[in-house]
Symmetry: C2
């Protein structure tokens, strides 16, 4: 691979004076459509409708949403804008229930609102940009930390989309893959990631944009891929990490971890510190969201007289015992457990 | 469950004096369309285009194709019809490369052709009907043999379509599930089975027709399903079984076997004797067909400048060591190996 230092051309979110430009991820890869959000309500709707997805990206979008809220409310009523903005903050918080980063980002913005006593838009925009830039910086740092483990990995498998589309930029698991590919050629494999097909629609599209060669596989071909000896590492992101390292992530992650252990393939989780839920002791306490049968069942099997249903969990939980390494921007935890995870506070 | 003795209403293939009526499986479940094949060429085209699929069903369709060939050729030239029919036989043999049952059924029909010295259509039709009826009888017998293992199985997971649609009727793995459901209620789970979605399109449609309640899951949710304790057995069919019990079957079967072993879930393969390839000592000798990237990749990722490809194996091989039971119409082999498989000759 030629030296293409950090090819990372895709951005899910771009701020301009006109508002927040959002790349509509529901329409990828068929159509590249940007939508300009001019109000906090626009941003909340964009998150709820999954035009933007991925926990870090949702948090960043919400932060910019607060800037738009302040701009609108301060113009309307410069003397009493705070209560109206708080209303918008709550609306943004309701846009998605599970993304931890959403609440974390809104809390950072709320702290600025409490602090300012003049025009609020400039300091809030500075904070939103900081959240965005810190996310990219954290991802690049995690990329390097993770790539240190991959010197002898000829093949790497990833699941779902954890790239620039899911974050401020660069990506978490996909960021580690970017960094590894900078150091030398790898065979990158991406799962389709049913039922939303984030791998088939988003990950390979993003990698193609950045000219990182990759191979798409059906989710169910992953174990055969490992049996064939073509991958040495599986690298995934996380939606929530419990205090002992148990990791909730996109459905199918657990199946990959089980297959990896069976084949002696190593397993890495990459996520920022804000993904770790220190109040949840272990993974079995994490509630798993289930989605509509419509995502799986054909129309005529949804008829009232049908005896067919679907079980459509969004996430599963991979026990820490099946995880070799958790990479955060604060450092790396090998063989995660309640004890070893404490090192991140060191 | 009420006593509904052997609800088995779906037929992929139905013979009439007018020809072979084929249920077009490419259009299921959206549309129920039958196509009437009046010539051997029609049947060959129907197999090649996958309107009919499933190794046993392909063999039966080809047998009826030979009847149609004999009818046409004998009418055209009652004194020298054999060479023309042999031409049609070869055309049928070329319709699909891997289905072992296709060649086995054509060989049975060829034996009748060699034997007859009068009008050939009646004896050939009798043989085709025998192949069809023997297949259903074998499936019903396997159903009972397999169900004997499932007395304590509250939940059963199956993969791909191995039912009436894939066979003469009743099904192999799905036949065992039918028999088990006759004996008492079970929770039946079916995988989507990407990339052709035989589970989502065919298995749950067939079960709904026969009022057998079932739950569809994404392929990648199977390991989480096992972790949740909801299934005690995985039951699958086979495309080819090596002499030591290693089993080639639809991609994803191996992943299910690995996950089953990890969770202490038991694993059953159901297939007629004609699926066993005694000339192949072990599974690694079985060549795995790979299909077109188009089945996985979005249109714009197939562009010439794309750096994205797809790996799309049709089958994988599950080692006999991960299989608890192989069920055939000749009997059952527990803990299959080169030695134990020999019992089927006893």
């Amino acid at each position: 691979m030629t030296n293409t230092s950090y090819i990372d051309s895709v951005r899910a979110l771009q701020w301009s004076d006109d508002g927040l430009l959002v790349l509509d991820q529901r329409q990828l890869p068929a159509r590249i459509v940007h939508e300009n959000c001019r109000t906090a309500a626009d941003v909340a709707d964009t998150i709820a409708s999954m035009r933007v997805r991925g926990a870090p990206a949702i948090g960043i979008a919400a932060a910019y949403g607060v800037v738009l809220a302040a701009r609108e409310r301060f113009t309307q009523n410069p003397l009493d804008w705070r209560s109206a903005v708080e209303h918008d903050l709550q609306r943004l918080a309701r846009s998605r229930p599970t993304a931890v980063n959403l609440f974390w980002a809104l809390e950072r913005m709320r702290a600025v609102i409490r602090r300012v006593n003049t025009e609020p838009v400039a300091p809030l925009l500075a904070e939103a940009i900081a959240i965005h830039e810190e996310d990219i910086a954290a991802n690049r740092h995690m990329g390097e930390l993770g790539a240190d483990y991959l010197a002898n990995a000829a093949g790497i498998l990833t699941h779902c989309n954890t790239g620039s589309l899911a974050t401020g930029g660069y990506g978490t698991a996909l960021g580690v893959i970017r960094s590894a590919c900078q150091r030398g050629p790898r065979n990158i494999f991406a799962t389709e990631t049913r039922p939303w097909s984030q791998g088939a629609r988003l990950t390979v599209w993003e990698l193609n944009k950045d000219r990182i060669p990759a191979t798409l596989i059906a989710d169910s071909a992953a174990a055969f891929l490992m049996q064939s000896g073509r991958v040495q590492w599986v690298i995934v992101g996380a939606d929530r990490i419990a205090a002992n390292g148990d990791t909730a992530n996109k459905i199918g992650t657990y199946a990959l971890a089980v297959a990896a252990r069976h084949h002696g393939v190593r397993f890495m989780v990459v996520a920022p510190m804000s993904t770790i839920d220190w109040d949840t002791a272990q993974g079995e306490k994490i509630e798993i969201e289930e989605r509509d049968s419509r995502e799986l069942l054909a129309e005529n099997l949804l008829a009232p007289d049908s005896v067919i249903s679907a079980w459509n969990p969004v996430f599963d939980v991979t026990p820490a015992t099946l995880i070799d390494v958790i990479v955060t921007e604060r450092g790396v935890v090998e063989q995660p457990s309640s004890q070893t995870m404490q090192r991140l506070f060191g």
